[in-house]
């Protein structure tokens, strides 16, 4: 959190604005503008002249007024809002926040010193970036942490090679999260098996790795990447009973050559990529 406070005063609009701006021409009709807003699911658009300079803004409120006046076929230039409140790319985020708070704007066009539209910023842009900041903080602080970000739940775990003490923690946390979200027990079982085997592969074979889980309403996505020796022959590694694990690992009950086949069996989609001397990447999907 300290990082964030330190950087807050230095954050400028340019860091958070969206540069992909949907604009309209003043010669367009209000009916056309309404259609663009409907299709793009937005509530307002900057109006620019042929030199791309900002001359106004047209919003849902303008469309409703035109509808009420039965003037939807009039041109945007005759119905748009003039005197647009704008910000500059180098203005502070604090300025945008205070404008949003004071005037309840849903968006602010960002213009440069010659009044060209270079971006747009919404309260949502700021929230998204803040969420990112917070997430980064948590990863730095905790050896193993799990966190909830937005609608899709994302969990991320660092896995250390040879660390048998923490081995299984990622799979256990993922299992708990899935159960908390009310996912069916049989699916949770498959997810637990896939995550556990993938985690153990990193512990047994690699130097270190990351297990990332994304839980959306439709499916669980698991990405496991490691820095390690890589797999020489993936086809062989996928065969039950094939293992390169050393003897002391086998004595612990691992290295039976069942890890990857178990993962594949538990997944709906399973992809593996490996570079010898670099590492291995797994992509696993389990549908709900």
């Amino acid at each position: 959190m300290n990082n964030f406070h330190d950087s807050q005063s230095k954050l400028i609009i340019e860091d958070m604005m969206s540069t992909c701006v949907i604009t309209v021409s003043p010669e367009m009709t209000m009916r056309e503008a309404k259609e663009i807003m409907r299709l793009k699911n937005i509530s307002g658009m900057p109006v620019i002249d042929d030199k791309k300079k900002l001359i106004g803004i047209v919003t849902i409120a303008d469309v409703i007024q035109a509808l009420d006046d039965q003037k939807l076929d009039e041109k945007v230039k005759d119905r748009m809002t003039l005197n647009v409140c704008t910000v500059k790319p180098y203005d502070s985020i604090n300025l945008a926040l205070s404008l949003f708070r004071r005037y309840q704007y849903s968006r602010l066009p960002v213009v440069n010193d010659t009044n060209l539209v270079v971006g747009i910023i919404t309260p949502n842009d700021i929230v998204k970036r803040l969420a990112n900041f917070l997430k980064l903080d948590e990863i730095n602080e905790a050896h193993i942490s799990n966190m909830v970000i937005d609608e899709t739940h994302t969990l991320e775990f660092e896995i250390k090679g040879g660390d048998f003490e923490k081995a299984g923690l990622a799979a256990s946390s993922l299992k708990k999260k899935l159960l908390d979200l009310g996912i069916n027990a049989q699916i949770v079982r498959r997810a637990a098996i896939a995550a556990y085997e993938a985690e153990m592969n990193v512990v047994i074979h690699a130097v270190e790795g990351i297990l990332k889980a994304q839980i959306s309403p439709e499916k669980l996505l698991l990405f496991i990447t490691d820095q390690g020796p890589g797999i020489e022959d993936i086809e062989k590694a996928m065969q039950i009973g094939y293992s390169t694990a050393p003897d002391q690992i086998r004595e612990m009950g691992f290295g039976a050559g069942m890890g990857l086949p178990n993962i594949k069996k538990s997944s709906d989609i399973f992809k593996i990529n490996s570079t010898l001397g670099k590492g291995t990447e797994l992509h696993i999907e389990i549908f709900f």
Binding site: G168, S172, I193, Y196, M252, G253, F254, A256, N262
Partner: protein, 113 residues
């Protein structure tokens, strides 16, 4: 059937575990290869294994086993005991071998999947 009934009739030693009556047992699984256990063990299984290191706890917890039973008087590592306590996982032991234990459990009406 619950864990306490099995402890009584097989005369098992409880190394870690409380409220044994509340843990139901529906089947038995015997294997020492953890990946094989992950693939085939079922919820509420009693698991007989000679593995004693702490990774048996992750397996038991991920698969919702009712208890871990160590044959041949095997003792878990100290860290395994400590962690089992923290995670609420039951560990039992017996001087008998897995084969005899399996036979007795079979006679009690338990089956593998």
């Amino acid at each position: 059937m619950n864990v306490n009934e099995i402890v009584k009739s097989l005369n098992l030693e409880v190394i870690v575990g409380e409220n044994l009556e509340s843990k139901s047992v529906k089947g038995v699984y015997i294997c020492d290869l953890l990946s094989n256990v992950m693939a085939h063990g079922q919820q509420d299984d009693l698991w007989i294994t000679i593995q004693t290191h702490q990774n048996i706890l992750a397996v038991a917890s991920l698969l919702n086993f009712s208890a871990i039973l160590l044959p041949e008087n095997l003792l878990p590592d100290a860290t395994t005991i400590e962690k089992a306590k923290a995670q609420g996982i039951i560990i039992l032991k017996s001087p008998e071998g897995a084969f005899n234990l399996a036979g007795k459990l079979y006679e009690m009406g338990l089956r593998g999947s």
